[in-house]
Symmetry: C2
Subunit: 286 residues, 2 copies
């Protein structure tokens, strides 16, 4: 999807949030804001929001001298999610439709997002609500069929912490079907997106192969991805893209993608006729 003018105030909010985590120096925070302001006239609105966010965060990291301000937050998210894993695993295995339950949990895990989300989310209540509620955008029947038919699956992860929830879903997919799954994470730290380090911490790399994508965009910008990732993307029977960043970067790419996310803002929610915070499981062709 393209970038909307609505995204511009959000870029400033995100830049300020990251700058404040990176440094307590208000003068440096002000320099970040001024730098983003200087970039605005050059923002091409025909590229996707995460491509612009990538430029904004690079500026934040350069000016503050901190290229991973959310490092501690990511560590905390992984720990919190890992502590929930055993009970979530039981919930999945004990449910009537473990694959659906794992999908709902994977989407609930997408609430761990420090980018476009305005209000911090209480993970426990988000999980409880997710388990008790239907999906707001629900292509699960098609998704289930595609999973049954696919031999190869590319799983584009999103955030740290969230990848523990992804692990639950991936384990469920692998249990139900004979399917080769590859997980892709970001190449370098960007916002709180998952990198190889996070995949190793949550031991996802011992379940399925995990590779990094060659890019520090908070999304999957194919032109920035490694040849290996692009080849897997082009040959996979099925792609699961987690989170709003991956949705924003891939919503116009013709491929057999299912997007699993919580809608973080009206720019995404309104065209899908859902509300901010709603759970989405959407096929690309729907």
């Amino acid at each position: 999807m393209k970038t909307y003018l609505d995204c511009i105030p959000c870029f400033f909010r995100q830049a300020l949030g990251a700058a404040r985590v990176a440094t307590d120096d208000v003068d440096i925070q002000r320099r970040v804001i001024d730098a983003v302001a200087g970039m605005v006239p050059d923002f091409p609105l025909d590229i996707t929001p995460p491509q612009i966010a990538q430029r904004v965060y690079r500026a934040v990291y350069e000016i503050t001298g901190n290229d991973d301000p959310y490092r501690e937050e990511k560590r905390h998210s992984n720990e919190k999610a890992l502590s929930l894993y055993p009970q979530l695993k039981e919930i999945v295995r004990g449910s009537d439709d473990p694959l659906l339950t794992a999908c709902k949990l994977a989407i609930a895990g997408n609430s761990i997002d420090l980018g476009p989300q305005v209000e911090p989310v209480d993970l426990d209540s988000t999980i409880a609500t997710a388990l008790a509620s239907p999906l707001s955008y629900d292509n699960y029947p098609q998704f289930r069929r595609e999973i049954q038919d696919a031999s190869t699956l590319l799983y584009l992860a999103d955030n740290a912490g969230e990848i523990v929830f992804d692990k639950l879903l991936i384990e469920e997919i692998c249990r139900e079907e004979r399917i080769d799954v590859t997980v892709v994470v970001r190449e370098r730290p960007i916002i709180n997106d998952a990198t190889m380090e996070d995949a190793i911490v949550v031991v996802l790399n011992q379940v399925v192969p995990v590779i990094s994508n060659g890019s520090d965009a908070p999304a999957t910008v194919l032109s920035q991805c490694s040849t290996e990732v692009r080849d897997i993307f082009n040959s996979a029977d099925l792609i699961i893209a987690k989170g709003q960043g991956n949705y924003e970067s891939l919503s116009d790419v013709p491929a057999n993608i299912f997007f699993l996310l919580r809608a973080k803002c009206p720019v995404v929610a309104v065209p899908l006729s859902i509300r901010v915070g709603d759970a989405v499981l959407k096929g690309q062709t729907d």
Copy 2:
């Protein structure tokens, strides 16, 4: 109060909102955003937020060629509030403490604000909640004493529509005490702030004298106000300042002011230890 870096994303959001009401031309909307971005490095954070908002809105009006984009919205707000007036008057007169009830309603009326507020507010439910709830920041006992002691009162109005609620409170003040009340409105249209035209439409000018302040700031910036308004400000026994803009512009001015508002954002709510949306009746000396 000074301007916080948090205010800068909000200025962009407000500029975009006003630009979209002023014109459907996305290129012009983009020019507005770029113009505000160009102004950011020159924003002095030691002046109040409404002083910067004044510059931002002037740019919006100049670039879009529309110097009163919220004109229709203001007309609608006045009509809606006037339609509620008879029943609200009955509620005030029938209540145990009519002055307190009128204060609560005047604060509920401050929900009609198209500036810093992110989500539009349902006026009917806001009124019902306001009547049923205590004030979140409550200096009403002191306020009541000051009203009883004062001979002259300056009432700084805020928004169109809201001034119907102000009229209810002013009528109650005049009923209870022998007190000379003067109402001040903005000189020219800015956001949805009340001007003399609105005061006339809601017939407030037939209840008490109404004068305009000489400024198009969405607030009371004394240095921009007419000598007449400054003289009344300096000599009044008591000042009622409605809304967040007046609070932001006068919170550091030593005077016998009571601020009546709904908190619109964390920058105001957090230092007062209340939540966004909460009702405030705060004395300057508290």
